[in-house]
Amino acid sequence: MTGVAPTSYYIALSALLFSIGAIGMLVRRNAIVMFMCIELMLNAANLAFVTFARQQLSVDGQVIVFFVMTVAAAEAAVGLAIIIAVFRHRQTVNADELRLLRW
């Protein structure tokens, strides 16, 4: 397979995306952006699954990605509904301004 980047590159990219997501989740304060960071973490895991599936010539990892995408979609539906419910009360989705419960 000439012209194909080695597996380790994909894993490094996946780890990088995961770290960006995790750090973004910790430093950003807008609920929507925090949620996007979580999606980035899940997709980093998906990239790792596909890479390992290719490396091991097994189809398991690619099937798992479908499960993860389905779960992520369900999570997005509920998560955005919750964000809207909070927005209706407070007209903001900034995590720092939600002080009713001590964050």
Binding site: A45, G61, A74, V78, R90
Partner: protein
Amino acid sequence: MLLTDISWPALLPGIIVTVTALVVLVADLFIEGPDREGLGWIGLVGMVAAGVASAVLWNANAGGFGDTYLLDRYAIFFNLVLCLTGVLTLLMSMDYLSSIGLASGEYYVMLLLAVLGMMVMAQANDLIIVFLGLELMSISIYVLAGIWRPALRSSEAALKYFLLGAFASGFLLFGIAMAYGAFGTTTLTPIASQLAHLSVEQRPLALAATGLLLIGFGFKIAAVPFHSWAPDVYEGAPTSVTALMAVGVKAAAFAAFARVFLYALDTLAVDWTWIIWPLAVLSMTVGNVAALLQRNIKRMLAYSSIAHAGYLLVGMIAADTDGGAAVLFTLLGYAVMTLGAFAVVIAVGRRGEPNEEVSDYAGLGFRYPFLGTCMTIFMLSMSGIPLFVGFTGKFFLFSAAIEKGWVWLVIIAALNSVLSVYYYVGVLMQMYMGENPREVQGVAQRPYLTATLLFTAFATIALGIFPSWAFDLARSAVQSLGT
């Protein structure tokens, strides 16, 4: 992964709960008026049926789907604990929902689906099935936490639980990806056999997987330093949902956690015990010290549940049959006493008047002797006074750890247990000696809550005095791992 060997016995408890949830969903459409109690009864029947189905299959040792989904004794033990939790939570909810004026059939559907997710976690023998069960449970509970829409704090609790819960699932999933990279499979049985002779290339990925899985599970069991969501979410969510979160989520997370770490990653125990003991010490100490400072009883119970996660981790560290059995037994005991304590919290509250401050409990013991007696039993049990199940559980956990030579860890745990007496007894002092100008009045007689309290109080004492049969069940459950 071979998915052709369908095992109906292994699926049976899950199918029963799924069908019940769907029946409740449809039946909700045919009910007119605000009274949704009937749906609770349907849910109760389903939960009891799932529990009975699990118990009947005790000796079956069913498993299928390429060994990814099992109904071994270990899973059955947890199914029973989870069904019990489901039944008691449903009973509490039926009174609680009418008392806060929340007439919602979806509540029962979500509750049943959350318990279904927990059962899937207990039965999963594959990391991806663990993930699916965890997400089914978590997504249902995000909805439940925010279901009381008029209350801002309910929505806020849901948002916090959602963001941090999804964050934790991200770690768990990345850990699963690393495990898949290391072993070429996500099923626990081949992972366990491969770990026996781990190659040099596999080791870094395997250790990364262990660490990331630990973070993911750490969030769900609310161990320090992954606990920051717990007090806020416990306080803001409707009390019956808090009870389910404190008991069900913790039990299910420990079910998957112990199966993955005691069975699959057993060979790496030398490595992971050195990460878990600081978690245990921190959880116990931070949980108990922070609980001392709380004025809101739900926050206090949240920190108490964090401290209990620490005690349970002490049992995990022993990493043998006794330690595992102690964890299972303690989770059962923790379930009954914690559900009982939350039932008292529900009983004291009224519509528009939650009465959740500890000072609201002043003088309650004499005015409502039944509630007072029950709360006394639960608080003494949690603080680890002998005769109650809380003591027995801690005794099993600590003796398992001592046998493995973790004496200093058990000394820290025992000191923490002594410290915890202070705030648990503080509630009792308030109830029997405290004075509050605004006396809480009109605590109504509620049949379902009374039933819950009677049962949990009885179980707390019965399991405390006669623990051996339940401990034997727990031991045979742990022994079924990997057979």
